[in-house]
Structures are given as structure tokens and as C-alpha cells.
Subunit: 456 residues, 2 copies
């Protein structure tokens, strides 16, 4: 998939105004003060997981890199910024020439993350780094929230496929990003056609009650659907009476009906009854797809029921109670002068709460000798050398402004599957708990207190 086709008919010519006002006024002040070109390192990270969650899933990397590529200030944007006095003329001139020319490292897409994991490290001038804050956070906070919820759902579904059907319950373009994130986290397909076109996520559909109600009776409706879509279609059987509808669907297809969909009622009970009915009618190959306010707990609760697939909507696109990750983007180091060779000094907010750890980070995941993850090791300076079984988590994404990574979703999806499989088994628990592995901090002098550890 080329980048140009990735934007497709909903191409966004510039992403540069998906930005908070204050980034450009800080830029304006720093340009005037002569501090804008100080070598700076920004870090994108989360202080904690949502309460009770065991792990998080990094998502949005590919979308963020595309947004970076489209991040330039065109004439209309600059005119708006000048007319509203957000920027002055020297700042507008600087923005007109802006193309990001720095380096970015990050956790690859689909990877697992924990509290404090440095998901992105942006190494550039202050000016170049500060104006990316909002667009990077928007993409990471949304996409990772969806992928983190989706991963719990696919974990609970096991071998049974999950289909993303939540477009109608979230903003229309967030829906496209949500379908992408769900696919990375193991969903098999989406109902969202734009996600199919833009990202090649497989699309699936069943039928709505309106289609049945349009016709004189269920037989007429099912006959019309089967005539157009074949016997392998999925019939929605709960408009009037489920038993009658299942019988009708089986009769019209000579027992070769692809699937039935149950969208209301007690799904475990209904699925058991419908399975028995289908089998008694000889439709032993007909599958049962359930939908209706499913989340990871309901999916787990249905594991004993004869269900062949889950359609998940609202809970998926709203992050199952946690629609945002709470990632922040902080300056962690900067030079004292604008000499490009000046040494970096660690910086961090000091007062009261919301502290962060200054300094440019490395990040490793440490595994035991059975290959099970046991520690997220984050530090400042060079990573420790030794015979530990560690994986470096930060990979180069952008170098000198050039985007290095362009992968299709299958790669991120496979990375997620493997990375989740490395976690301790407690990661699969749906009950509330702590992150399944600890985060530890190191500096040149040894271990540091974990500033994000819960206060006991």
C-alpha cells in the first residue's frame, strides 16, 4: 500500500492545524527569544494504565507517520493564523518553510506497553518538536485506547473471530481509525467500508431489522437476501420470532445457510436453543454470530455457549470504559544554547503532582529463560550490557526527517499477537489488577525509584 493511496478519497492535504493554539504561540515566543533552535528531546508516554488494566497496546504509529508527512502549513492555514494573530510574520515565514527534519524513535505498532514506557522519543529543535504535540497525542491516545480494549476482547474470544461493528457509535473518521486499531489487535474484520478501502481491513456485513421490515414477511425478506447474496449469507433472525426465522432460513437454503445473527435477548440461552434447533434441522454447518452490546466480559461469559463469532460495537469504539489513554508529551532534555553540538540537559517539572522523569530514555523488555516477559526496563544513558534476555523496544521511525517505516497492518497485527503471547498468563485475567510486569528505572548510577508506581 503506497502512502498516496493511503489517504485516498478522504485525503487530508494538511494536518498542520490539528494543533493546539499554544504550540504556535510558544513557537512565536521562542523564535523571538532566540531559543527555538535549542536541541530538544520530547517524549510521549503514559503515567499509568487505565485502572485495573494489565497491559496496553501501542497503536497509531503508521497513522502518526502519515500525519507527520502531511504536516505542513499551506497558504490558507498561514493566512488564517496571521489573520487571527496566532502568529506574527516571522513565525509564519518559519512555518511556511517547515518540514520536520529531526529523528524519531518509537515502540513499533502492535507492541505492548506499560506505565512509563517511552512510546515516542522526538529528537529535534524545540521548534520542530513542540508543534507536533497535539497531532501525535491525538492519534496515539485514540488508537492505543481502541487497540488496548480490542486486545482484551480477542484474548477472550480465543479462536472465535471478532468483527468490528462500532462505526455508528463514534465520530465518522474516528470510526475508520478504530477499525484499523481493532484489526491490529486481532479482530478479523470490520463493517466499515472506508477502513476496507484505505487500510485493506477485510469488511463484513449481515443485515438489519429494517431489511426484514421492508418486506411483507420474513420469508420474502430472507428470500430476497439469499437470492442476491447466496446461501452463505448471514440472516438476522430476531425481528419477530427467532424459532420461526431460523426454520425459514434453513428451509430456504436447504440447510446450507451460512450463519444466523442474534442481536437481542439473552444471548447465551438463545445461542444454545438456536444451535439445537439448527442441528435438529440438519443445518449443522450454519454458524451463530452474536451482537448486542458485547464487551470483553460478555465475550468471556459466552465462551461456553455455542457461538461462532462476535460482532462488537460500542464497547470497542469507546475503549471499553477507557476511550483515551492519557498519554502526555513532555520535554525531557534540551541544550542550553542553540549550538547543535551543545550537550543535552535533563529537565522535568518539579512542583506538586504530575511529575515526570527527565532525560532521554532507552527501553528494554526483559524476559526470563522461558521467554516470558518479566520487566519493562527504562533508563537514561546507555542500555545495560550483559547476558540478559532483553529486547530493545525503541526502533528508528524517522531519521533526518525521512520516514523509515512503512508497514502494512498484517505486520503490526502479527507483532501484537507475538508480544501479547510473551506476557505472563495474568495478562489474560479480566478482573481488575496491576500491570502484569513492573516498570523499573535505571540511570548511569543504578536503579531509580519508579515515579509512576502507585503510592501505597
Amino acid at each position: 500500500m503506497s502512502l498516496s493511496s493511503a489517504w485516498g478519497p478522504t485525503r487530508v492535504p494538511t494536518t498542520a492545524l490539528l494543533t493546539d493554539h499554544y504550540e504556535l504561540t510558544m513557537l512565536r515566543a521562542a523564535l523571538q527569544a532566540g531559543t527555538a533552535n535549542r536541541h530538544s528531546v520530547f517524549e510521549l508516554f503514559g503515567r499509568r494504565l487505565p485502572p485495573g488494566r494489565r497491559y496496553g497496546v501501542v497503536c497509531g504509529v503508521g497513522r502518526a507517520l502519515r500525519a507527520l508527512r502531511a504536516f505542513h502549513f499551506d497558504e490558507e492555514s498561514l493566512r488564517f493564523l496571521l489573520d487571527t494573530d496566532v502568529v506574527d510574520q516571522p513565525t509564519a515565514d518559519w512555518l511556511a518553510d517547515f518540514r520536520f527534519s529531526g529523528d524519531i524513535w518509537g515502540y513499533p505498532e502492535g507492541e505492548i506497553y506499560f506505565p512509563g514506557s517511552p512510546l515516542l522519543v522526538v529528537d529535534s529543535t524545540f521548534a520542530e518538536g513542540v508543534i507536533l504535540e497535539t497531532v501525535l497525542l491525538s492519534i496515539y491516545n485514540h488508537d492505543s485506547a481502541i487497540a488496548s480494549a480490542a486486545s482484551r476482547m480477542t484474548a477472550m474470544a480465543g479462536d472465535r473471530p471478532c468483527i468490528e461493528m462500532g462505526s455508528r457509535r463514534t465520530q465518522e473518521l474516528a470510526a475508520v481509525a478504530a477499525a484499523r486499531a481493532a484489526y491490529i489487535a486481532g479482530f478479523e474484520a470490520t463493517s466499515n467500508l472506508e477502513a476496507g478501502r484505505r487500510y485493506h481491513v477485510p469488511t463484513r456485513g449481515t443485515s438489519a431489522h429494517s431489511f426484514t421490515l421492508l418486506h411483507g414477511d420474513e420469508t420474502e425478506a430472507f428470500r430476497a437476501q439469499i437470492a442476491a447474496l447466496g446461501t452463505d449469507t448471514t440472516l438476522l433472525v430476531d425481528t419477530y420470532d427467532v424459532t420461526n426465522a431460523v426454520r425459514t432460513g434453513v428451509e430456504l437454503t436447504d440447510g446450507k445457510l451460512g450463519a444466523v445473527r442474534l442481536d437481542s435477548g439473552d444471548l447465551a440461552l438463545l445461542a444454545t436453543q438456536v444451535r439445537a434447533l439448527l442441528d435438529s434441522l440438519g443445518a449443522t454447518q450454519t454458524k451463530i454470530i452474536v451482537t448486542s452490546d458485547l464487551d470483553e466480559w460478555n465475550i468471556a461469559a459466552l465462551s461456553g455457549a455455542p457461538v461462532d463469532g462476535y460482532g462488537v460495537g460500542t464497547a470497542l469504539v469507546t475503549g471499553s470504559g477507557h476511550p483515551t489513554c492519557g498519554f502526555v508529551y513532555k520535554l525531557v532534555a534540551r541544550a542550553d544554547t542553540d549550538d547543535p553540538g551543545a550537550p543535552l540537559v535533563s529537565v522535568a517539572k518539579k512542583s506538586t503532582d504530575k511529575v515526570s522523569v527527565g532525560g532521554r530514555k532507552f527501553a528494554l523488555r526483559r524476559f526470563n529463560d522461558r521467554g516470558v516477559a518479566e520487566l519493562e526496563l527504562i533508563g537514561i544513558g546507555a542500555p545495560p550490557v550483559g547476558d540478559h534476555n532483553d529486547r530493545e523496544l525503541l526502533v528508528p521511525l524517522v531519521q533526518g526527517g525521512e520516514i523509515l517505516v512503512e508497514e502494512d497492518l498484517a505486520a503490526a497485527r502479527e507483532r501484537h499477537r507475538r508480544s501479547r503471547a510473551e506476557l505472563p498468563l495474568e495478562a489474560w485475567k479480566m478482573s481488575r489488577g496491576e500491570p502484569v510486569i513492573d516498570t523499573a528505572y535505571l540511570d548511569e548510577h543504578g536503579s531509580l525509584d519508579n515515579p509512576y508506581a502507585p503510592k501505597l
Copy 2:
């Protein structure tokens, strides 16, 4: 604001694939069965408010009408749909010619709604109405969720301004829609620049900790900000020590500092201390803006503190616990044949839960003689005639495919302000409760049971 500039540099050439797969396969089956052209009425409504909420706010009307205008299947979309066998050639041919040619009525933007309120009534053929389901629901479910939360926040803030700052915590284009929705519900401004450019929402900014940390010390940072942005700027004073920072800001501006921003700590206590300090330094006109995980309850709790404005982020863009409204889009009536003059027959799903009320609705808000809203009156057939003080809630939005309504945000914002002011005082309560007025149903024969009333 013209429609063309409304799409601006993030123009979406087509919204037609912001659609669920099944809508096009239902269309395909209905075209083949000869039922696609039956005169049909679809209704968009919510069965209930989020638990505990007293009222909801209709939002997304203007965006939905623009999405309708951009809803056409271009060559690339059709190629995708044919290549993936979502549609066959006759369906693709039908889609290639598609322009919505029906009528749409709806609650105007900014109006209050209650359980069962028919927010949109789409009168067209089945084919034309069915394919709009997802894009209409996506826009209404998102924008109304944000506006409903925002309205509670501005109600609690009273005369103090609320500024929307949540872009970083939601998907990057959902952020633009959220800023628009917040403005309609009474927010004064947004940090989101694209919302400024696209919708003319006023934009505001303060400063980030990174700007302070970039500089050698706070004095240097504040001096740079004041030099570029003037003394009327807002200084962020909690990077190191709030007291020192406030003193520095006042000294550098000779007491003429515009505002200080507090972004952490105990905001009520801090605001009181900072107000006393500012006053003791003679900076009696300097305002105090607070931010940091504010929601409607925190805003209410700060009503006694000397605060001059609230910056609201995460809670706003995530709908303060309810990121989606749960609106559905249901076929409520259709003809038995494709004769355009054939009479409409009410239809509704019958089995188990998720019932709806068939039939094409009218909707009135009834007021007592003091002008206070007392009933949402919904019915089938002609509205009752009498000397009641009623307002018709459904206004024509689209007629014969032509979009009739194009209003700027100020009109919707003013409508919201007035409509909220008509509600009983209980609407202002932050405690959980029932909708502040009841919904009642009428048909030609008199009153109906309310199918959405909570089961006692």
C-alpha cells in the same frame, strides 16, 4: 460561512464509504428483489439518556447536512466496492447516480432532547434512506454526546468562561468536531486551530511546561513569552514553585499580567492562595485560569473559589463518562409496493428487547404558562390542535434532496442557551436523576404507553 470553505484544507471529497458494509448488501438485495424503491421513513432517536442525565443536547445537524452533500460514490469508491464484491454491477450503477432526493426533518441544532425524541425523520425510498444510516449515526452519536456533557459544564460554570482543550485526548478529527460541539453548548473558545479555521470557533492558548523548561529559568521563560505575546498573556505558574512564579510574572508586567494558569495540585486551595498573593502584589486584575482533569462536578466544586475560567480537556472530549449517545436509526414506516403514492404502513421490531415505536412521528415540547418545559409529546399522525403552549420540534432540513438549513454556530449556540433556560430547575442538578420532563406518546386514538419508560 460557505459550505465549500467549511470543508477547507481537510476537505473530504466523499463521505460515502463512511458506511457499514451491510447497508450496501441490503441495497443490493432490495434492488434485485424490486423492493428498493418502496417509500420508507427512517427515524433517528435514542431509547434513553445516559444513566443519571437529566437532558441531552442535539448536535451534529450542520455536519450531517454537509456529509449528506458530500455523500456520492466516486469512481475509486465504486471500483473498491466491485473489486471486493460488496456490490454487483447493477448496484454500482445505481450508486454512481445516487444523490439523495428525499426529505429530512429534524430537531434543530442546539435543541434539547429526551428519550424517544425523533431527532431525524428521513422520508425517501428505502434505498436512499438505508445507506445514510452509519454516517448520520456517527455524527449525531458523537457530537451530541460531547454537547450534552459540555452543556452540563457550562451550566455549572455560570458566567465564568469554559475553554475546550481536549484535542490531544481524542482522535484528531473527532477533536475538531468536539470543539464545534462544545462551542454550541456554551464554551467560549477552543485550543483547536482547525476548529478555528473551519468553524470560526474562537481559539485560545496559554503555555506548556516545556516552554518554561526550555529556558534557563522561569524568569527567562516568562520574559520571552511576555515580549512576544504582551502582558495580557497567560503564564503557566506551576512548573517549579507557584508562589515564586506568580511573583515573577507580576514583577515582569508591573502588575498588569493578564492571567496565570494552574494545572496541578489542589485547585481550590491554590486558587485561593494565588488570588491573595496577586491582590497583595497589586495585580488585582490578573485572572486565574484552572485546568487539570476538570469535569462538571469539579467545576461545580470550584464555584466558591476565586477562579476566572476553566480549561476542560479529557472529560469534555470523552462525553464525561458517556462518549456516545446510543442513538439508533430505525425503519418506522414503509409502503407495500413501489408505487410512490402507496400508503405508508407502520413497522417495528417485535421480539424480546430493543423494541421501537413504528410510525412517522411528530414532536412537540409543551410548556406551562410560565414558559417552563413540562412534556415532550411525541405522536403518530397529526399533532393535536388546541390552546396548549407547544413548540414544534421537527423543522424541515432537506426537501427533495435540497439542503434548506445552513446556519452558523452562533445561531445553534443561542438556541441551546434559550432551550436549556426553559427547562425545570432540576436540569441543573449534577446528582443522578431521571429526565427532567417526561416523554408522552399519542396516536390518533389518544395516549400510548411510553415504551422507553424505565421498567419499575
